[in-house]
Amino acid sequence: MRKLPWISFLVIGAMVFAALFAPWLTPYTPIEQSLPEKLLPPFWEAKGSTKYLLGTDIFGRDILTRLLHGAQVSLIVTGLSLLVGGGVGLAIGIVSGYIGGRVDAFLMRLVDAAFTFPSILFALLLAMTMGQGLGTLVAAIGLLLWAGFARVIRGEVLALKERDFIALAKVHGCSETRIMITHILPNVMNTFMVLVTLNVGIVIVAEASLSFLGAGVPPPTPSWGLMVAEGRGKISSAWWLSLIPGIAITLVVLAFNLFGDWLRDRLDPKLRQL
């Protein structure tokens, strides 16, 4: 058995804590501007002060405060997208695997197509036509996720439906819907949970990338990707604007990926090949 990924727990725990208690952790708000104190470096640099531990941005907003509040935005977007995208994928996977035949063939062609075409393009299209916002972002990222879930869950269901307890349920007179919901669904939940954890990193990067491209949550909401984008033009004079939020993204994604790997080995080792 693999070691518990302690560092992952620590980073994820810190992020959840920041997301929950952000307003009480700092004396500033993420959107209040203070122009006289703009572009202050982090405290360890020559001109930095301990008043703003990680420095301030072009509007004099505290970077640390925006990071903490950004954790909230990230987690909300991640949670909702996984619920929507993962949920749709789960449903399609179960139906496709259990019903089989033409339905299965059709749905799996859709999945193949979704894998081939970069859904970030649809996300950008949605953002332009429907306007930026949480709903658009969740829909866009959901679009990115469903196919992966559907394919893996379908594989599981194909194996499950040959088992004796499903045959017994049929003999017993259960309807197809009932079999899918009460007999198949609980048995693929482990796999579903592993997929959710393995996808958290992908979602966080997707959210950050879309925000970076100007198609995520609209400013001045603090999003990590948006913070990296806003600091990009100042990289030669104020490195902390872009690099600090980027470190936060990488750390969190790394933590979730390692945690996902661990969970997979623990709950569902046959997913290893993925």
Binding site: R109, T116, L124, A208, S209, L213, G246, T250, V253
Partner: protein
């Protein structure tokens, strides 16, 4: 072999139909597509003309027919920002992206094959550990941030490499590394895991018993088979490359189709974005078809099933 290619071609056409349909539907979601297609300052007369040419006063299925008929003829509307046909803008930028993509792929192949092989041969050794760490980091680091980090280190601090636009070979280094990193990480993991599997297989044992040199066993018998999963997952990598190109070209002000996608969003140039999406789909279908044929060549099992 013919049946295989026809099947793949059919799948490509399916993808194109799907993408076109989604673009059409999303464009109609907001109600009035004329507001999306024409610049804000367009006159009432221009609006009426547009409604007429696109048949927007007709029923939905007729509108779709006009849309597809135009698309097939290469007419995907006029770019609002560039004031010329959107497909012309796309093709004027395409060569610049076609310079960058192969560079990233070459980097991935040159790095991933030797590292993947050595990692599999000396499992748990120094190379395995280091390349494993690089792979994990490479997958966790978002492209756009990696680009900015590289600019900070190599352009701002060290002053070795240019940070933006096209030019001599030095301009290629940072964008190539930025775009190629996830490919290196992905290829390396795949090659390592399939090498581990193949090294255990019967035909490798046989090759060794026959007394072939280790170099020949590894490079001829193992590698060729280890590359199969890379080719079969190619479609996924291709999608990733297109996504990566959007972000990388944006960071490095690289005048290719990725940067064009970003500009379309930035300047709210809907016809241009629509054209880029459909043309990207055509490009992806074409490249994947070439790879599929290559795949059938490398793996004879594909040809006969």
């Amino acid at each position: 072999m013919h049946r295989y290619i026809v099947k793949r071609l059919f799948q490509g056409v399916m993808l194109l139909i799907m993408v076109t349909t989604i673009v059409f539907v999303v464009g109609r979601l907001t109600g009035n597509p004329v507001d999306l297609i024409l610049p804000e300052e367009a006159s009432e007369q221009e609006r009426q003309d547009m409604i007429e040419t696109l048949g927007l006063d007709g029923p939905m299925h007729e509108q779709f027919f006009v849309f597809v008929a135009n698309a097939v003829q290469g007419d995907l509307g006029w770019s609002i920002r560039y004031r010329q046909p959107a497909t012309d803008v796309f093709f004027s930028r395409l060569p610049n992206t076609l310079m960058l993509l192969p560079a990233a792929m070459i980097l991935a192949v040159v790095m991933a094959i030797p590292l993947g092989i050595i990692s599999a041969l000396r499992r748990g050794g120094a190379t395995d550990r280091i390349s494993g760490t690089i792979a994990v980091l490479g997958i966790a680091t978002p492209n756009f941030w990696l680009g900015i980090l590289l600019i900070y280190i190599f352009s701002v601090q060290l002053g070795w490499l240019p940070s933006a636009r096209m030019g001599d070979w030095t301009h290629y280094v940072l964008p190539t590394v930025t775009l190629g990193t996830f490919l290196v990480a992905g290829f390396m993991r795949l090659i390592r895991s399939s090498m581990l599997e193949i090294l255990e297989s019967e035909f490798v044992k046989l090759a060794r018993i026959k007394g072939l040199s280790e170099t020949r066993v590894i490079w001829k018998h193992c590698l060729r088979n280890a590359l199969i999963p890379v080719l079969s997952l190619w479609g996924v990598f291709m999608g990733g490359l297109v996504t990566g190109a959007i972000v990388t070209e944006t960071v490095f002000a690289w005048p290719g189709i990725g940067r064009l996608t970003y500009e379309a969003v930035l300047f709210r140039d809907y016809p241009l974005l629509q054209a880029v999406i459909i043309m990207d789909a055509v490009l992806i279908v074409f490249i994947n078809l070439v790879v599929d044929i290559l795949y059938a060549y490398v793996d004879p099992r594909i040809r006969y099933t």
